[in-house]
């Protein structure tokens, strides 16, 4: 093969790999789509689907990786269009999605009410944020730190101590951009909670208004801008959860906010050393987030999707969420076995503050980019 042929062949192969992967919905199978990280996809393939096949041998499920939330959104748009034309959306269930999207979906009746799912009464009330989504797994943001540089007894336990520690150790703390992975995002939200009386209830999906945002958010920007010069590289922000963990692993910084499931997995896989410490703020915990499954009302296999959704809430899967995924269950802890409850007593959060998605999220992310991120002085 000469060089010319080689270049032609390799560019053709490269081009082919760029073509959108065709996913044809299988006839007769429940079409489930997952836009989450690889670990969640593995969890579904290795735990949820084999378990479901055993419990419901006559319902087939086809799980497709939608890549990310944008991939799901495109499918949801298609579902909404199919609803209008009474066609088959070729989608039945999303692993996690925000039912507020696409705009007008709820009003048009695109999503099934979560309370119609069998077993919904066992869902942890802390986790519910919409009538149309089913929280089935969660995780919370913690602070991970290097115990060789910071002894566990000196680790900050309150927001004030944390701020004092960051200022006393310039360059040793980094958080990621709030829209790119929630660990940094929930650190930002904790700052917002701090300046609003530490009351997570002050923010709900429906109470957003531009006036409220203009009043409640700027004080948090001041807090974060005040912190910026003490952060890594005098105000640099990593582009995702993984990069924050990478900086901690490379010994560049001493402390980063992390997702509980991700950090447990990183320690388990040896990405982070055993000397990694974890701490949660005790005055008000950093926010957590739940993955909310949504079910299409117009899906061709709605009954199968409802069965799958209720299977997610069974004790079997909810305990696997803890033991396999390192996450929190979506149901209340008293619906789990005593053994597992005792084993994970340390991880059970007393409260999981949440922050609404939708307009607030948009305002927080864009506000942060416009107000906090640009004030970098690298001198």
């Amino acid at each position: 093969m000469n060089r010319r042929d080689f270049l032609i062949t390799s560019s053709a192969v490269a081009g082919l790999s760029l073509m959108p992967r065709l996913s044809l919905a299988a006839a007769g199978a429940v079409d489930a789509y997952c836009g989450s990280d690889k670990n969640v996809l593995d969890f579904w393939n290795n735990t949820v689907l084999p378990g479901f096949a055993k419990a419901y041998p006559d319902i087939a499920v086809k799980l497709t990786d939608a890549g990310n939330n944008n991939g799901l959104r495109a499918i949801a748009d298609r579902g909404l269009a199919a609803l209008a034309s009474k066609a088959d959306p070729q989608a039945d269930l999303f692993e996690t999605f925000d039912p507020l999207l696409p705009k007008g979906g709820i009003e048009a009746g695109l999503w099934v009410k979560a309370s119609e799912v069998k077993g919904h009464e066992r869902v942890n009330p802390l986790a519910i944020d919409s009538d149309y989504s089913l929280p089935y797994r969660g995780s919370q943001v913690l602070l991970a730190y290097d115990t060789t540089k910071l002894a566990a007894k000196d680790a900050p336990k309150t927001w004030e101590q944390l701020v004092a520690w960051i200022k006393a150790h310039p360059g040793q703390f980094v958080y990621n951009r709030p829209d790119k992975g929630g660990s940094g995002g929930n650190f930002v939200r904790r700052a917002i909670h701090e300046v609003n009386g530490r009351d997570p209830g002050a923010f709900t999906v429906n109470n957003y208004s531009e006036a409220a945002a203009a009043k409640m958010l700027p004080p948090a920007w001041d807090v974060l801008k005040d912190l910026a010069p003490s952060l890594y590289e005098k105000g640099a922000y990593t582009a995702g959860n993984t990069q924050s963990i990478q900086l901690l692993a490379q010994g560049v910084v001493t402390m980063v906010p992390v997702w509980s499931d991700q950090v447990l997995q990183a320690i388990h896989q040896g990405v982070l050393p055993e000397t990694t410490g974890l701490v949660q703020l005790s005055d008000l915990a950093l926010c957590g987030g739940f993955a909310h499954a949504t079910i299409f009302a117009n899906g061709a296999h709605k009954d199968g999707a409802m069965a799958l959704a209720s299977f997610l809430l069974t004790q079997e899967i909810q305990e696997a969420v803890i033991s396999e995924l390192g996450g929190f269950p979506g149901v209340s802890w008293d619906h789990l076995s005593d053994a597992i409850r005792q084993k994970y007593a340390d991880v059970i959060p007393a409260s999981i503050p949440v922050f609404p998605s939708g307009d607030w999220e948009k305002a927080v992310n864009d506000g942060w980019y416009r107000n906090v991120a640009p004030t970098i002085s690298r001198s």
Binding site: S10, N69, N70, R73, L101, R177, D179, E233, A236, Y237, T238, A239, G240, Q243, Q246, L247, Q250, G251, V252, K362, N365, D366, Y369, R370, A373, P374, I376, R378
Partner: protein, 296 residues
């Protein structure tokens, strides 16, 4: 055209009749694809942004989104850093790529093919893998720092999360294309003219300045336009390696579209980016056309 060629004596290889139709059919596919996947979205984006759906649901002519972009310091800073990155990368690519291309043009043997293989290698590394690898090597406490430390030298300030991070990544990523195109351009310079210059006593520098560079203008322009088009719209490298703010247009558009759920402004940013790329596209098309003409 088919009529005309049928009255002329046919060339040895080209079938006189039917060839034109087959030719047109072959060209039709890419042209249709171009129209469907590129021209139509561009026109749709321009119409969408200049005639947005107003609050009353009716479309009307308005340049408000453009006015917002050009009066918004944040957006302008993003545009500026994109232009800066593109210029710096273009310059560095030529500075790095030209010596490699010259070397490959004028040397023979095994070592030269190793160099070529090495220069082409980045083409086969996906940029997301490159980004994480660069964090490991030139990032803080990365390989470079470890080597410097072992030699007893101080650490270098890391380019990670500064505007220089994407620059290094993009230059690395775009080097193969640059080297290939420059080598192709150098291939058009005949050995005879170089040797003639040497015979009359021109040194290497003289040959470069007086013989090679004047004939490279076209291929330099083509190379630069290609590199610039790629860099202007880069996403992964600026997103992972660059600072949170100012951000390059790629990540900015993505964020405006999906995070802010604001297709109108994302489209506006896209049309503005497209306008800048158009300038370089025109350079490219013009130089191709000129090239064709000069060959006639």
């Amino acid at each position: 055209m088919a009529m005309l060629s049928s009255t002329l004596p046919a060339r040895a290889r080209a079938p006189a009749y039917g060839g034109a139709i087959i030719g047109l059919a072959l060209v039709a596919m890419p042209v249709l694809l171009l129209g469907w996947l590129i021209l139509y979205p561009i026109l749709a984006a321009i119409v969408e942004t200049m005639f947005p759906v107003g609050a009353d649901g009716a479309r009307g002519f308005s340049l408000a989104s453009y006015r917002f972009f050009f009066s918004d310091d944040y957006s302008l800073a993003n545009l500026r850093v994109t232009l800066w990155t593109t210029c710096v990368c273009g310059l560095l690519l030529v500075l790095v790529g030209l010596p490699i291309a010259l070397y490959l043009r004028f040397s023979r043997g095994r070592f030269a093919s190793y160099v070529q293989a090495l220069a082409i290698f980045p083409m086969f590394v996906p940029s997301i893998i490159l980004s994480y690898a660069l964090i490991r090597t030139i990032g803080p406490n990365g390989t470079v720092d470890l080597v410097l430390n072992a030699l007893g030298l101080p650490k270098l300030p890391t380019p990670y999360l500064t505007p220089w991070g994407p620059v290094i990544g993009l230059v690395w990523d775009n080097l193969p294309l640059t080297v290939l195109m420059l080598t192709a351009g150098l291939g058009q310079i005949s050995n005879a003219s170089v040797e003639a210059a040497r015979d009359v006593g021109a040194g290497p520098l003289r040959v470069l300045v007086s013989i090679i560079l004047p004939r490279m203008g076209n291929s330099l322009l083509v190379t630069l336009s290609f590199a610039v088009l790629g860099i202007f719209s880069a996403f992964t490298l600026p997103y992972v390696l660059g600072p949170a703010s100012p951000e390059m247009m790629g990540p900015f558009m993505e964020r405006t579209f999906s995070d802010n759920n604001d297709p109108l402004n994302a489209l506006t940013q896209a049309v503005i980016s497209f306008g800048f790329c158009l300038v370089f596209g025109l350079f490219y098309v013009r130089s191709i056309a000129r090239n064709r003409e000069s060959r006639r």
